[in-house]
């Protein structure tokens, strides 16, 4: 095999691995960003920035290191978004706070839900409705959690990172991760229980 052919096949493998990795994490990354920024476009931007940073700086890393690196980049990008937002808000305090509050109040959990696809047709309408409503409520309560608690909860229980990895991604101690996770779980469970949701 010629050197060029070897390099091409190798390049394709790496490109494909990276592409598949990004594809596998993009939806959850979008949701994580959405819970934090409450806006579809801003959340997609956050995911795009994170993907660009990953491919620019860490594309030559082993594939098994990518999930952790991506999570760390994603969390930092979300925090950067907050910082920029904070600076912007100092100039438009009144309007920003008024419109933000209004959006929050008017947010209907069911607005975040999509119509069920073919895989769900067999489900009874009442069951489907209940499921959508539960998801809406879970997401609403997740979005209400303090950012660090939500971050720890999602990384630990949704992304499946262990305590040490979560601490690394968040840039804090393992003790803090345990505290954040415990508080987030307790708050979420209490809030859902208060709304009559039994998981």
């Amino acid at each position: 095999m010629s050197p060029l052919a070897i390099s091409e096949s190798f390049l394709l493998a790496t490109y494909r691995e990276l592409s598949e990795f990004l594809k596998s994490v993009e939806r959850r990354a979008f949701k994580q960003a959405y819970f934090a920024v409450h806006d579809d476009h801003a959340a997609v931007d956050v995911v795009q920035d994170s993907m660009l940073k990953l491919t620019e700086k860490y594309a030559d890393k082993p594939i098994e290191e990518l999930p952790m690196l991506f999570q760390r980049i994603l969390q930092n990008t979300i925090r950067d978004y907050y910082r920029r937002q904070k600076v912007r808000n100092t100039w438009t305090t009144l309007f920003s706070s008024l419109s933000f509050g209004k959006d929050d109040e008017e947010q209907d959990p069911l607005d975040t839900l999509e119509a069920a696809d073919g895989a769900n047709r067999a489900q009874a309408p009442a069951e489907q409705f209940e499921q959508k409503q539960t998801i809406g409520l879970i997401e609403e309560e997740l979005a209400k959690l303090p950012s660090r608690q939500r971050e720890a909860f999602l990384l630990r229980y949704w992304e499946g990172l262990d305590v040490a990895q979560t601490a690394e991604a968040m840039g804090c101690s393992e003790g803090s991760v345990k505290t954040h996770c415990s508080r987030a779980t307790h708050t979420l469970a209490e809030a859902l229980k208060a709304k009559g949701v039994e998981l």
């Binding site: 010629s2 959850r28 949701k31 795009q48 491919t55 030559d60 290191e65 839900l113 539960t134 998981l199």
Partner: protein, 127 residues
């Protein structure tokens, strides 16, 4: 329900929800992914071509930084060779200058190596 069961249930609901994003979000994410991957390709292609051309494609993930190191080594060797060439060229030019002075002078070349001529020259200058 204990904490583990609760978080597992929440995870299931979130997985379900994340698989049902709006078409606009799906296309936005797809475009973001493609843009990020476009950004990735050129640098790696260049790096890998270099490695391939030198028959060093025993690549494993995470080892590509060796290619950069080898590239620097090759550059250092090239610069050293260039500096050596320039030095040799200057030495050659110096020899040419001496040759030109000898040939262009009024004295015959043999006068410089004839001890008798040197003695005669000193004696003549004393008178």
């Amino acid at each position: 329900m204990n904490e583990r069961e609760f978080t597992t249930k929440v995870k299931e609901y979130l997985n379900y929800s994340s698989s049902r994003l709006s078409p606009e979000v799906f296309s936005g994410l797809e475009a973001a992914r493609k843009r990020a991957l476009e950004n990735f390709s050129p640098a790696h292609a260049e790096e890998l071509e270099w490695a391939g051309a030198h028959g060093t494609v025993a690549h494993t993930h995470g080892k590509s930084h060796h290619f950069g190191g080898r590239r620097w080594l090759a550059l250092a060797v090239l610069l050293a060779a260039l500096a050596g060439g320039i030095y040799w060229q200057q030495e050659m030019n110096q020899d040419d200058d001496i040759d030109a002075a000898l040939l262009g002078g009024e004295l015959p070349v043999n006068a410089y190596i004839d001890h008798g001529f040197q003695t005669w020259l000193e004696r003549s200058s004393q008178h």
